[in-house]
């Protein structure tokens, strides 16, 4: 086995399979299933009452705050991945650990700030 690309060729094959399979299944269903037309069948389900308005309305800003916090912390985790593979056995152990603790400490400070500002509290 040589080359990084080689290990991703099976991924491409599975991706094609994933693109083909659901439409193919739905095509088979279309051939097998019965059809009937009735006006009420195609309305949106809303517990039996007539649907009022669209569902695409403005949502609570809460979700947005969590998304921002998520972006910050997920990128932190992403930086830890390459670090995890090299921090020991490459002659940089002590400096790597000090740097990582500084990095995590700065983020921890931001985390405490978010907590104190109640950005992590669900508004009821």
């Amino acid at each position: 086995m040589s080359g990084i690309i080689d290990s991703y060729i099976p991924v491409a094959i599975f991706l094609v399979m994933a693109l083909v399979m659901p439409p193919m299944t739905m095509f088979i269903v279309k051939q097998l299933s019965p059809r009937s037309k009735a006006a009420g069948k195609y309305t949106t389900y809303e517990s039996g009452s007539v649907p009022t308005g669209t569902a695409r309305i403005q949502f609570n800003v809460e979700y947005y705050l969590y998304a921002i916090a998520f972006v910050i912390f997920d990128i932190e985790v992403l930086f830890l991945y390459p670090w995890a593979t090299v921090y020991k056995g490459h002659g940089i152990t002590s400096i790597a650990i000090v740097e990582m603790f500084v990095f995590v400490f700065i983020l921890l400070f931001g985390y405490i700030y978010l907590w104190k500002k109640e950005a992590l509290t669900w508004v009821k």
């Binding site: 099976p10 439409p23 830890l80």
Partner: protein, 346 residues
């Protein structure tokens, strides 16, 4: 392997691996049917019911009957739905689990004492890759909900989104803690390095955080706010019927099985059992895979059992649990793993 391979085949090997590996798709669909059956039987046992018992021995053919039913149901799309999103969402659901399947080893064989993992492909960064593609399913869920233009669906999808973003962080941190012990991001290397000491004994806290975060990630019952039946009918999947629902449902179950594989491979020692050495050739071919599958079924049964043991959390409790409890615990576990890695690796 040991035998001679003709020169012209070598560049074709990845293609052959991929195409032969597609058979795994069939196997995993059968596995998902088995998991559905297991869930129904186990749930029935827990509640002192019979469960499926009419179709086939022990109701084993119930899922075949269900599949036939799904294939012959009419494909319905509400008038107000967005056809592009509504029709293509399943590609993300199915694509997410298929792409996970490529990188996860489903067993291993030992030939002359050398280990060959049964994975379709092996990458240097497979744990990172698996985490990335497993998060793709949230796009599918959101496309279904936004495409259906249904209020229940959209509420469910928003809750799902709030939950997912919270639990991805502890999940990623515990995976890093495991990678630190091995110094590798390859799931095969992580698994085969746990020959004597499983990671669950080295990092019990990490295993706990990973398991809880994984349950939330898969949307299993204490964390299924996205489809809480009592308030949201069926949540994000309300407008999805027939085979559309079937595909999304199967994708969720395959996600659950692959999640159990991850727990078994990262924390329960993969195909290793302490004290077992594959010196017999026949045993070396079969035993490691059987060990791994036993562990996977065990994790599955724990997941299913928890469904009936813990009631569903409210959405604010769920978000609090991830941001205010699991995240500090995961950071603590990271520090512990760094120290342990230095102590053991010195």
């Amino acid at each position: 392997m040991v035998m001679d391979i003709p020169e012209f085949i070598i560049p074709l090997i990845p293609w052959i691996r991929g195409i032969v590996g597609l058979s795994l798709v069939g196997v995993i669909f059968l596995g998902a049917m088995g998991a559905v059956w297991l869930e129904r039987k186990l749930s029935a046992d827990i509640q002192c019911r019979m469960g499926p018992c009419r179709v086939g021995k022990y109701g084993l053919l119930q899922l075949v009957a269900d599949a036939i039913k799904l294939f012959t149901k009419e494909d319905l799309k509400p008038r107000n739905a967005d056809s592009l999103l509504f029709n293509s969402a399943n590609i993300f659901m199915i694509g997410s689990v298929f792409l996970m399947l490529v990188a996860i080893p489903v067993g291993a064989v030992f030939i002359n004492g050398v280990e060959y993992p049964l994975a379709v492909t092996q990458m240097d960064i497979s744990v990172l890759y698996i985490e990335a593609v497993s998060a793709l399913s949230i796009f599918g869920i959101f496309m279904i909900a936004y495409g259906s233009n249904n209020k229940y669906s959209l509420l469910g999808a928003f809750r799902n989104f709030a939950r997912m973003v919270g639990y991805e962080v502890p999940l990623g941190l515990t995976v890093v803690s495991v990678a630190i012990m091995t110094g590798s991001l390859s799931i095969v290397e992580i698994s085969s390095s746990q020959g004597m000491l499983w990671n669950i004994f080295l990092q019990p806290l990490g295993c706990f955080v990973f398991f809880v975060a994984l349950m939330a990630d898969m949307g299993r019952l204490p964390f299924d706010q996205n489809e809480s039946e009592e308030e949201l009918v069926a949540g994000w999947i309300t407008e999805y019927g027939g085979m559309r629902f079937g595909l999304a449902f199967f994708a969720e179950y395959i996600h659950m099985i692959l999640g159990s594989f991850l727990v078994a491979l990262l924390f329960l020692g993969g195909w290793n059992v302490p004290g077992f050495v594959a010196n017999n050739s026949v045993l070396g071919l079969i035993a490691p895979t059987v060990f791994l599958l036993i562990k996977v079924v065990f994790v599955l049964m724990v997941i299913i059992g928890l469904r009936w043991a813990v009631p569903r959390f409210r959405i604010d409790q769920v978000v609090d649990l991830s941001w205010k409890k699991l995240l500090p615990l995961a950071l603590l576990n990271l520090v512990w793993a760094v120290g342990l890695g230095l102590y053991l690796g010195a």
